[in-house]
Every structure is written in C-alpha cells, then in structure tokens.
Symmetry: C2
C-alpha cells in the first residue's frame, strides 16, 4: 500500500500541514498526483524530512537546511563553512545570554540585600535617575 501524506506525517511525527509547508518552501518535492486518487510519497521524501528535522535540531534555519540539502554531494569544505558560521552564531548568542544572566543575578542579589521591601532595586535600576 502506497504512502499517503498522513502516513508520512505519522512515521515522522510531524503534522500533515508541516509537510505541505515544506513542499511550498521547496524543501521537498511534491510527488505527482496520480490520475485518480491521492499522491504517494517515496522513501526519499521521508529521508529528506528526517534530514530537515535533524538539521533543525542542530539549530539550522529552514533556509540553511535548504542550502545543506543542496550540498549533499558537495565537498566537505562548503558544508563545514555553514557549520562554522552556525557555531559562531551559537557562541555569540550564548555570550549575550551570559550577559543577561549576570545582570539578572546581580539585580536579584540586590533584592536579597534589600531592607526596604516596599521598593524594589530592580525597578529602581530600570527607572531613569
């Protein structure tokens, strides 16, 4: 029995709508519509969606996944470059979050030392002097 779109969805634990969305984005190819009946999806499409999902778990956007898919048979170096850029972006984001973490921790520490529970040092720090 042929694989309809909802079978694919079930196999991969994604929504039918998501698959159609990937089709619209040209991340996967829409199988031809048979004279009568429903479209059926080959193994390649299932594999491709799998690929997309794994790449997303690595933090790649769909646009980047699209590039990765186009590099499937390309030399390592091009893929490597994408991965390096992503790594840098991840590290930059972490740096920013560390800044937030430190700022929040400092403010919370001020709260704990605060005698005057009626007025919060966090609010104070946000108000222009």
């Amino acid at each position: 029995m042929k694989r309809t779109i909802s079978r694919v969805a079930k196999e991969l634990n994604v929504n039918v709508e998501t698959i159609r969305f990937y089709e619209r984005k040209s991340l996967i190819e829409q199988p031809p519509k048979p004279k009568d009946g429903y479209r059926h999806y080959p193994d390649e499409t299932v594999d491709r969606i799998h690929f997309i999902k794994r790449a997303q778990e690595l933090g790649f956007t769909l646009d980047e996944v699209s590039r990765l898919l186009s590099l499937e048979d390309s030399p390592c170096s091009e893929v490597q470059e994408l991965a390096e850029n992503k790594l840098e972006a991840v590290q930059a984001k972490m740096k920013d979050l560390r800044r937030l973490e430190n700022a929040l921790k400092a403010l919370l520490a001020q709260c704990n030392e605060n005698e005057n529970q009626a007025h919060c040092p966090i609010i104070n720090s946000l108000q222009p002097k």
Copy 2:
C-alpha cells in the same frame, strides 16, 4: 517649546513608529490631542520608554515589561519573581545552546579528521542510515 513625537524619538533614539506602536500596546499613554496642533509628550512618557528599553536589554519581552511597569510601586517580591523566571529561561536557553555548540564542534572535528573530502561527515550524520 512642547515635545512632539519626533522630539521624543530623537531624544531616545527610537523610531516614531515604535512610539506609536507602544501606544497601541498600551505600554505608554497617548497624550491628549490639543484642540489644534500636535500632541505633546511629557517627561513621564520619555522616562517610561527609557524604562522599556532598559528592561528589553535585560531580555524581557514587551508583555513582561508591561507587567514590570504595573509593578513599579509593588513589593519587591513580585518583581523578583519575574526576574527569577527570566533568569531560569535564560539559563535554559543557554543549556540548549551549549548542546548545539557541542554537537557542532563534534561534527567539525570529524570534518577535520576526514580523509575523504568528497563526502562530508556532517551530511552523513544528517542522513538516515
């Protein structure tokens, strides 16, 4: 001379449209429109936008900023709770990014050890076996 919206924008280095956007979101109050002429913006509004911008720098969303603004004269504990939640969210996000960082580093290491430059181990790891 009264402060028009573009004066506020210039003072705070934000767009006029952003100020209007905050008005629509009820983060700031729109000053009444005089019988003739333009609205003019009091110091309080400028201070409030300043507050918004600083809170955003701490990672708070506009919805959260809205809550913070409503807590301006509330006991420390409520503000503290918001900040603690934010800190937790920041730390959770960092944890996720560290996972990405490690995964990407591991893949890039495989690339560097890779003899067969024609096929990339990153692509390999994304493809279903």
